[in-house]
């Protein structure tokens, strides 16, 4: 998993919960990386899960809420990178629909070893889509947070609901997104 996910997560913890929680978090997790992350590095995604689990213990906030909050926080950083790559979209729905076909393709050009989730889009109409989230990692709530971040970025109101259909081999979630 790319280092930016980790650095931004630590920054979120520092910003939201303060250095003491951040210190307790890193001290409480026996991380292979020791918590020394660089945005351009690649780290085991288990470390995110460990960090989120530990943060849940420290704050009492559910991991799903933490991941959603993290997604909301992360999106503007990713959007900045997106802009640097001259990727522009008409709005949130347009961007979400282009996730698989444009954005992930560009990401793979930069990071050929990146392991990305797949988003198959079912168009219901121009205002509503269903995204099929499939991944080997349980980050559907992170995706929801990113979608919310995307709505904020484009200053649009999106209602997002999820239905988990996980199997033994993969994490599978239907994410309905409706623009109001």
């Amino acid at each position: 998993m790319k280092g930016i996910i980790f650095t931004e997560f630590i920054e979120l913890v520092e910003t939201t919960f303060g250095y003491s929680i951040a210190a307790a978090l890193l001290d409480g997790c026996d991380l292979p990386s020791g918590g020394a992350y660089t945005a351009v590095g690649t780290y085991d995604h288990q470390e995110v899960l460990t960090l989120v689990g530990q943060l849940q213990k420290l704050t009492g906030t559910p991991a799903s809420d933490l991941l959603e909050a993290y997604g909301l926080f992360l999106f503007p950083k990713l959007a900045a990178q997106m802009e640097s790559m001259s990727l522009k979209f008409d709005g949130a729905i347009d961007l979400l629909c282009s996730l698989e076909t444009i954005i992930h393709k560009e990401v793979l050009k930069l990071y050929p070893d990146a392991e990305l989730p797949s988003f198959n889009i079912q168009n219901i109409n121009s205002q509503e889509i269903v995204m099929e989230y499939r991944s080997c990692r349980p980050f559907a709530h992170l995706a929801k947070g990113l979608i919310n971040g995307c709505a904020e970025y484009y200053q649009q109101e999106l209602s997002v609901s999820m239905k988990h259909l996980n199997t033994e081999t993969e994490f599978f979630t239907l994410i309905s997104v409706r623009q109001s």
């Binding site: 650095t7 303060g18 250095y19 003491s20 951040a22 210190a23 890193l26 020791g34 918590g35 020394a36 992350y37 660089t38 945005a39 351009v40 590095g41």
Partner: protein, 654 residues
């Protein structure tokens, strides 16, 4: 903020600085690695770029070479096209391409001048077909379909409406191809037929003229034997397919030579042309009419003309010809002998059918003295034909085996009633009892076997003359020589050789010829007979009065004796008209210096009358029937060895 929390934060920040250092070091390592990777990539790109430059240079060179080659090829192609166009112009030809999908035709070459077609691309096939002669278009369409279905090449002669509005002959060749349609219409893999169309008008017209001349009689314009035979094959084949037979009539103009002799060849030719026109008048009933030879014509009636109906039409033709006139208005009246036979009943092949009609004509010919006749081939004729065939086959075998013999009938001098000579008569000891010797001779004459048979008779006769000579019997022996032998054999040479070979006195030989010899080239016959006379051989006219009996010819030919036909002698002594004729012949012969022999004398009355009339020699049963050679030489009077000197009434020694 409490002291402890400040310390916690400080501790955290210190650790964070440490983590940041580690992270920076990680980043620097990553950066270094990425730099190295980028350098490597850059190097590889440079190499690739250089390789690419080399490849581009090589490809550019190859492209230039190809371009050059294409230019050269294009020039050559243009030259080839120019040459092809020149050849097409010289050959008066165009090329064509039939696009099967679009049903259109492209034409290349000077079609405007040749066919008068404009424009030359995308011409609807239907429009072009309208320009092809209606008798040829169906055949061309058939060949086109065969080409499309089976890939067969097209080779068809067609008449096409030309620029000047008349039909001209063209040879259309073509082959199925998937090439060419693309260049024409841009349609890939479109099926098409490509070919040429060559103006062959003059050549085909010449061929047709040659064929016409080769297959038609120039005098009458009717098809000739050659055309008839090929047409017969077609009609016979159709007839066998349909199961419907047809009637064939062979027509012979009776005594046509007399017309030529009497009026000259020009008039004779006119008669033949008029007769051909008369036959053409029956075209609605006939499928073919041809002139086979001089005065011989053949008619094939249509399938739907029944045999009895064909017979009626022949009778009508006979009636029509009986009232024909010459061009100068003089009434001529042609007499015809017609033989009818039905295919395949009377003959399933050309040869068999022709034999049948010829047999029927032969039967008719026997009645020609009573005028025209029309004889339908029948079972009796067929029996006769097979009988003749049997005789012919047996005769051929007998000739090979030389199984013949001679009989001799003595001839008496009227003056002193002494035997002065004899006639050698042909005998066939093994002959079938159902046949008689005269019909055997007729078959031999008709089949040409008389030539070999005649030679054998001459050889046998000479052997006996030689025997007589050696015995000191100086009596003459007469032999019969057929007109056919005079026509096809060198009789003087044959006899001269035999005379030398057998060392025989020529005066012991008398050559008897019938009046039919007058029908041959009389000048040539006169020459041949003169040659015999010069050798010392004597000549007699046999059966005088039974046939042509031309006094003019009798006077012209160098003959010694005239033998009056038995038919006249039979009535001698009975006071009939024949007696007057016999007297006249005797007087006439004597006046020309010829001796007269009466043959077939059987009674005392006949003998007495002939003596009174001054007939020189007598031959007949009254004195002796024909006997074998052994019996002949035993005859009292015959072996006396009396001299064989014949005195003519003019006192000449013969």
């Amino acid at each position: 903020m409490t002291q402890s929390s400040i310390e916690i934060e400080l501790s955290y920040l210190r650790k964070k600085i440490g983590r940041e250092k580690d992270a920076r070091m990680q980043a620097e390592v990553l950066l270094e690695r990425k730099s190295t990777e980028l350098f490597g990539i850059n190097q590889r790109l440079l190499e690739a770029n250089q390789n690419l430059d080399v490849i581009v240079a090589r490809r550019t060179q190859a492209l230039k070479t190809s371009t050059k080659r294409v230019e050269v090829t294009s020039d050559e192609l243009q030259n080839t096209v120019n040459r092809l166009n020149l050849v097409l112009d010289i050959a008066n030809a165009v090329t064509w391409l039939f696009d099967v999908r679009n049903q259109t035709v492209d034409i290349a070459g000077k079609s405007q001048s040749l066919l008068g077609i404009e424009p030359t691309r995308g011409i609807p096939a239907d429009e072009l077909l309208l320009r092809i002669h209606e008798d040829d278009s169906a055949g061309l369409i058939d060949e086109l379909n065969l080409s499309l279905k089976q890939g067969k090449a097209i080779n068809k002669r067609c008449r096409i409406l030309s620029r000047c509005g008349s039909y001209r002959w063209f040879l259309i060749n073509g082959e199925l191809s998937s090439f060419g349609a693309k260049s024409s219409f841009g349609a890939k893999n479109s099926l098409c037929v490509i070919g040429s169309c060559i103006d062959m008008h003059e050549q085909i017209e010449r061929e047709r003229e040659i064929w016409r001349v080769a297959n038609h009689d120039l005098l009458t314009g009717l098809p000739n034997r050659n055309h008839f035979e090929s047409q017969f094959s077609v009609l016979a084949s159709e007839s066998l397919d349909s199961g419907e037979g047809f009637t064939t009539a062979l027509i012979d103009i009776n005594d046509f030579t007399q017309i030529n002799d009497t009026y000259g060849y020009r008039i004779g030719d006119g008669v033949l042309r008029d007769f051909a026109d008369v036959l053409r008048g029956y075209s609605e009933h006939t499928s073919h009419v041809a002139r086979l030879s001089g005065d011989e014509y053949i008619v094939i009636f249509k399938n739907d003309v029944a045999t009895w109906s064909a017979h009626e039409l022949c009778q009508k033709l006979i009636d029509e010809c009986a009232t024909m006139s010459l061009q100068n208005g003089e009434r001529l009246g042609l007499s015809l002998t017609m033989g009818l036979a039905v295919f395949p009943k009377d003959g399933g092949s050309l040869d068999d059918l022709m034999q049948s009609v010829y047999s029927a004509v032969q039967v008719g010919k026997q009645k020609k003295h009573v005028g025209s006749s029309c004889v339908l081939y029948n079972a009796a004729i067929e029996r006769e034909r097979f009988r003749e065939k049997d005789i012919r086959n047996a005769l051929k075998l007998a000739i090979e085996k030389q199984s013949f013999d001679l009989a001799f009938q003595p001839i008496m001098c009227n003056e002193d009633e002494c035997f002065v000579g004899c006639e050698a008569l042909f005998r066939w000891p093994d002959m079938d009892a159902q046949w008689n010797i005269q019909e055997v001779i007729d078959v031999a004459e008709n089949s040409g076997l008389i030539l070999d048979l005649g030679e054998q008779i001459i050889a046998m006769a000479f052997a006996k003359i030689s025997q007589l000579s050696k015995m000191g019997v100086k009596k003459w022996v007469s032999i019969n020589v057929s007109p056919l032998q005079f026509q096809f054999q060198d009789i003087p040479q044959l006899i001269s050789k035999a005379l030398i070979e057998h060392n025989v006195d020529p005066s012991m030989l008398v050559v008897e010829v019938t009046e039919n010899i007058f029908l041959e080239n009389i000048t040539r016959i006169a020459t041949v007979l003169s040659q015999l006379k010069k050798m010392g051989v004597r000549v007699a006219i046999d059966d005088f009065g039974s046939g042509y009996s031309s006094l003019r010819y009798v006077q012209m030919l160098p003959i010694d004796k005239i033998k009056i036909d038995k038919a006249f002698i039979d009535d001698v002594g009975s006071g009939t008209e024949s007696q007057g004729i016999v007297q006249a012949v005797i007087n006439m012969s004597h006046s020309m210096g010829y001796k007269v022999i009466a043959e077939g004398v059987e009674t005392q009355e006949q003998l007495s009358a002939l003596k009174l009339m001054g007939c020189d020699y007598i031959q007949g049963y009254f004195f002796s029937k024909p006997v074998s050679f052994d019996e002949l030489i035993k005859l009292d009077d015959f072996n006396k060895g009396s001299p064989l000197v014949l005195k003519t009434h003019l006192g000449r020694t013969l």
